[in-house]
């Protein structure tokens, strides 16, 4: 067991019940799609796994850590084992591709030797080794998302969380990004991805967890996007 949610509920301070009595288990090395309409609770699960939010009730275990017992001071160290991929990439526009990735290593105190070694390797992995000195504004959307992925995996985390990574991309580019994520998954990294991309989910036939109004309504291996929403 790698991720385990046990009877987890999340009520936000404004009274919204985003997650209701949810139990969920994800094993190491899995590729999981979280699907469902906006506000169904996908983002809340991602936030709970990242310890951006804490459960109101129930227990969240990630990589052997009980997140409700994790002290605030330990959260940064916990997060170093998780790569985050965003719909809007969240790149620093005044830094080059190389610097954007190196930044993630710098702020966790990596040595310059380590940085010089790891950054070119991960840029080669995402196919951007020729554009290391470009600024994000000189790149296409797909290329920017590759930088974001490179930054997420440069530390070689066991878990990658992706919140609608193809939401801002055209279908063809989306497929390139999915191939990249599948490659990363093949290396043993667990990937949890929230998405609205029906055709991607339907053709990849991975595990699908469908959510609606704060509850899991369907959880199947080799699943499809479904017609319930």
């Amino acid at each position: 067991m790698f991720i385990q949610l046990t009877n987890v509920s999340k009520t936000y301070p404004n009274g919204v019940r985003a997650l209701i009595d949810t139990t969920l288990r994800i094993d190491k090395g899995e590729f999981v799609f979280l699907v469902g309409p906006s506000g169904a609770g996908k983002s809340t699960i991602v936030k709970l796994l990242f310890r951006e939010e804490q459960a109101s009730r129930g227990q969240v275990m990630v990589n052997g850590k009980n997140l409700s017992r994790l002290r605030d001071g330990r959260v940064p160290y916990f997060r170093r084992n998780i790569g985050m991929i965003f719909q809007d990439f969240k790149l620093l526009v005044n830094k080059t591709v190389y610097e954007n990735v190196a930044f993630a290593l710098q702020v966790v105190g990596a040595s310059s030797k380590e940085i010089k070694q790891k950054v070119p390797a991960v840029l080669a992995l995402v196919g951007l080794d020729k554009k290391a000195d470009f600024l994000p504004t000189q790149l296409s959307g797909g290329e920017q998302q590759r930088v974001c992925i490179a930054r997420a995996v440069v530390n070689n985390p066991p878990l990658v969380l992706a919140d609608e990574p193809t939401g801002n991309l055209d279908p063809e580019t989306s497929w390139d990004i999915m191939k990249l994520l599948l490659d990363i998954n093949k290396r043993g990294t667990t990937i949890v991805m929230g998405t609205h991309a029906k055709d991607i989910v339907d053709s990849l036939r991975k595990r699908v967890i469908a959510m609606e109004r704060g509850r899991i309504v369907r959880d199947e291996e080799k699943g499809v996007y479904g017609n319930e929403f």
Partner: protein
């Protein structure tokens, strides 16, 4: 903290100082001005305390003995006063000595005019332990048999005491208000930096940077602005005060001003400490809410 983290913090600090150029200069100037006023307020308070302290410790009670009293009675009176509580010292100025002093002050004119008689009374000069005790002690001495009249500059003591009290409080209030103003300005400067770099801070939180790692560059920027202002203000205060002291000693020598190296060193340390504190508090204010991710 690792070497890499320190190098990162230092680089970021100076980049940010460069980026914020004018705003940083404005905060340094504000801190400097605040600390200049603070410095002069401190020297003023220190001087008035010293001066009033001098005056306070010199307040004397003059008790005049009935001219009919015999030498034995005068001696008894001196013993009685000596035994009153709160008395620090008693000395007798006999009428002969009083006349001599009087004469000396009038160029030896009086003695011949008086034709040999001495109209002056014997006088006790009494000092109290504390200035606050002067009024009560004077009352007790006045009620002794054989004492005609008591003088102690009535009212002056009370006024002096209330003035020092008042001066101290005004000084402290001005200093407090200026410190708050400087803290607000530094915090605005740092807020600009934090705001300009809010995306970076968010990403740092996402990739697992610790709060202290994120704080250091901002804290250092605040400290540098605060200490920069303190150095500038300190130079003005110390150079200005030394010149003022020389001027007063040359032209207004009756005004007792304090001039000692120890006080200057303490003043410099106080200004530097205040500058650093203002910088640190200012930057922490601005960072607080941005660290919650």
């Amino acid at each position: 903290m690792s070497f890499n983290a320190i190098r990162y913090a230092v680089t970021e600090t100076f980049l940010s100082l460069k980026r914020n150029g004018w705003m940083g200069l404005a905060s340094v100037a504000t801190v400097a001005i605040s600390l200049i006023i603070l410095g002069f307020a401190v020297t003023l308070v220190y001087n008035t305390t010293k001066i009033t302290g001098n005056i306070e410790s010199n307040i004397e009670i003059s008790a005049f003995v009935n001219t009919a009293a015999t030498a034995a009675q005068v001696q008894t009176l001196q013993n009685e006063i000596q035994q009153l509580p709160d008395v620090k010292s008693v000395s007798l100025i006999s009428k002969e000595i009083a006349l001599q002093q009087y004469q000396a002050s009038l160029n030896n004119q009086v003695l011949s005019d008086l034709g040999g008689s001495n109209p002056l009374p014997d006088k006790f000069v009494v000092k109290a332990q504390l200035p606050e005790q002067v009024a009560g002690l004077a009352g007790k001495i006045g009620s002794l048999r054989g004492i005609d009249k008591v003088n102690y500059g009535q009212g002056v003591v009370d006024q002096l005491l209330s003035f020092t009290h008042w001066a101290r409080w005004v000084g402290i209030s001005i200093i407090a208000l200026l410190s708050i103003a400087s803290i607000v300005l530094i915090s605005i400067t740092i807020r600009l930096t934090v705001y300009a770099r809010r995306r970076e801070i968010q990403i740092m939180k996402f990739v697992g940077a610790t709060d202290w790692f994120i704080r250091w560059p901002f804290l250092m920027e605040g400290l540098i602005l605060g200490i920069g202002g303190a150095v500038l203000g300190g130079i003005v205060v110390i150079y200005g005060y030394e010149n003022l002291v020389s001027y007063i000693q040359a032209n207004l020598s009756f005004v007792p001003v304090v001039k000692d190296q120890g006080f200057m060193v303490i003043l410099a340390a106080v200004l530097l400490g205040s500058g650093a504190l203002i910088g640190a508090v200012g930057s922490m204010f601005s960072l607080h809410k941005f660290l919650k991710v």
